[in-house]
Symmetry: C2
Subunit: 446 residues, 2 copies
């Protein structure tokens, strides 16, 4: 294939957005050929090809470019036309097709953009939706280990207006690898003639691919005013400041709390949200739950004959399903929170199951005894026995299901809060009814 | 009454912890007599009398003391015996009997104590449980408006080890009144020869009596690294740092989330909490809810005859109560969160009621139509009509009750989260059943 043919083929692939073929070509072409291509291709095509290179190749190719060509390429990467090519990609393909950009390119790319443009350009970075790579700030101060403390202090004072924060200063070596961290306070405490390397601390950092919530929590849990974000080679690509971390956690908790109550979070404050929008946030969940509740109707149909025979059994239905729902909601709430706080993970499922079976059984013993005594006195002994045993069984079942659901959801990569309170209530309603009528038939001999 | 008699009477009142009488005496005695008494009374009695003085008097009396006597008094105030006298007080009496300490005394008192002692001494300050006055740090840097920027910078660098934070510097005048605030960054940006007063900003602050949660939220919402805390005369008494604010909000949210799920928050992480303790956190709520659910049994008893006649009505009980519970939980979740975020207050109760009636009605229309169609097709038209109308009524009722409960709870000074999800479910269950059978009797003509 001649060079002209190649240029045309590439242009054609870009036009048709056939990035898979293009990525394969980019991965296989020898580096010198890539460099030549980048020189000759129209700017948009060149930027797309460059973005599809494996990371190693792109570092190498970028370093070989003239400074002016480097600048052009970075500018081109941020152009709407190029971003558009990648925006159309399926999120799963993004991860497969787009390797990390070299840290140097990421930094320069982000720095040329306003915060609003930065959000629009996020797809080009290849960091998936919800990752901290999309939320980090590119405006941070850095220091090198071989600098004097007074040099860094003077530079901080001189350039402070450029940075989002000056209270946390990452320390990087010549290859931009994060090697330490310093607070402004420690810098002020040190002697001016100390080397940065001798007073810096071991850094805590997040990877750009980490979820924004995990990174934000690490920042807050560590009592840090800012958390450095690094790429896969530990090269510094951004900084997460505490106020952004607070914003991320607040949004996540808004969502968790809303979903725990069976609704989607509102985008504006309650009083400013029109009724139609509030109803729209609640309707899907309410419908899903109502449709799953049809299950309870079907379960009861199975036992219609039993019900007709002992109508008193109907009286306890809301009490029993309600108690099961509450016991399940309690367990789900505790576990959802524990998962959100990273207190435990999917690997602990066995321990959680054991713990919830025992907790549910304990609660069931208390409620069951009480139910047995009251129902025996008010109605008769067999009814008391049915109610007591059902409460024991339902509490044990509900606590176990409620405790495990959030963990299973997490294992399936679904938001654990989705499977919380109302969903578990509905599930426990149906299961509880089966338990109830099975016990009732056995004891009452129907 | 001779001086000796007075001394004896006071000693007797302190021994009997009759602080009401003592406070009345302290409020009425002329200032010179008080000064003389403080000189002559045994240290414990003197400290108790001093603490019971109205603020104006205590400022005046304290200023007249010799520096050595001031120091003795401050030390004595922190002694276990003196703290013990006030610790026994009913929280309501604390507010009535203990005026604020002069800001100067508060500062000196807090500074003589370790953080652990500080918590133990909290009652003496008179700031109620849950107020930010009990959580603020007394270790903060200050500047005066007539100081040079370079003087403050030099002092910051020299004394930084003493303070919890050096990134936020409150500015106070000669009477300790908060007049401005400066960040270290702004201080570094200013010319060394500028006056602090010419570069400082208008301060955002919290009052020491404010709830710790409100103060913490103001700190986080404002994107502040620290929030000054002032007394009633706007005199600086403490500083709330962002990491303490985060800790306060996290504890409050742990509690809110736990209560929304009908359980008390665990004091340790889930995996480290023994089963007995988890069960104990859940049992009270589960019992309260189960006992209130007995209401549903009683409601159903009223309609036992109706049930016996049309047994099909029993089939829909869990579906209808479940949907009502879910609709109520949705509204309660949204409103509890909105209250916690200070988006609205008790004065908005009318607007919330109107909004929830309309939202509930909208949701009821959607679910009711669906229920009508399905139930009419599967069973018969009258049953479909009963189910459809009940869903409409139950959704409207539940959303309204669920939305108003948290606001009513707040108006009664009860944690809104207490009246949330499971409580509302139980309430809506009983009400929903009454609605259901009323509609059924009317339509089916039973």
């Amino acid at each position: 294939m001649t060079m002209t043919d190649t240029l045309e083929t590439i242009h054609d692939l870009v036009q048709r957005s056939d990035l898979t073929t293009l990525a394969k070509f980019a991965a296989e072409a020898p580096r010198p050929q890539i460099s030549e291509l980048l020189d000759r291709l129209p700017p948009v095509d060149a930027a797309v090809v460059f973005r599809l290179l494996p990371k190693d190749t792109s570092i190498d190719v970028f370093e070989r470019l003239e400074p002016a060509a480097q600048a052009d390429l970075v500018t081109e990467l941020a152009e709407a036309e190029v971003v558009g090519v990648f925006e159309a990609l399926d999120p799963d393909d993004v991860v497969g097709l787009l390797d990390e950009l070299p840290a140097k390119v990421t930094k320069r790319l982000l720095q040329t953009l306003s915060p609003r443009q930065r959000t629009a350009t996020a797809p080009i970075l290849g960091y998936p939706q919800g990752s901290i790579g999309r939320k980090m700030s590119p405006e941070y101060l850095i220091a090198r280990p071989d600098e004097l403390v007074q040099t860094v202090l003077a530079r901080t004072q001189r350039d402070e207006a450029q940075y989002e924060t000056i209270y946390t200063i990452p320390v990087v070596d010549h290859s931009r690898t994060l090697v330490g961290i310093l607070s402004l306070r420690e810098l002020m405490r040190a002697e001016g003639t100390d080397l940065v390397g001798s007073v810096m601390n071991t850094p805590v950092s997040a990877a750009a691919y980490d979820s924004d919530e995990d990174a934000a929590r690490r920042c807050l849990d560590g009592g840090l005013l800012a958390l450095p974000v690094v790429d896969r080679e530990d090269r510094l690509v951004g900084l997460l400041t505490i106020d952004d971390a607070i914003r991320i956690i607040r949004a996540a908790e808004d969502e968790d709390q809303a979903r725990a109550g069976g609704t989607e979070p509102l985008r504006r404050t309650y009083l400013l949200t029109p009724v139609r929008q509030i109803a729209r946030a609640r309707a899907p969940w309410l419908l899903v739950l109502a449709v799953s509740a049809i299950l309870t109707v079907q379960v009861l149909e199975l036992y219609e004959a039993t019900l007709a025979e002992v109508i008193a059994l109907a009286l306890f239905i809301p009490l029993l399903t309600g108690t099961g729902g509450n016991a399940g909601a309690q367990a789900a709430t505790t576990l959802t929170r524990a998962l959100a706080m990273n207190e435990l993970g999917t690997r602990d499922i066995g321990r959680v199951a054991l713990k919830e079976v025992r907790t549910g059984f304990t609660l069931g013993l208390v409620l069951g005894s009480l139910g047995f005594v009251i129902a025996s006195l008010v109605y008769e002994l067999p009814i008391g026995l049915v109610i007591g045993l059902t409460l024991l069984a339902v509490c044990t079942m509900a606590a176990t299901v409620g405790g495990l659901m959030p963990i299973i959801a997490k294992a399936c990569r679904v938001d654990p809060a989705v499977f919380s309170t109302p969903f578990i209530s509905t599930f426990c309603d149906a299961t509880g009814l089966i338990i109830y009528f099975t016990i009732a038939r056995a004891i009452l001999g129907i």
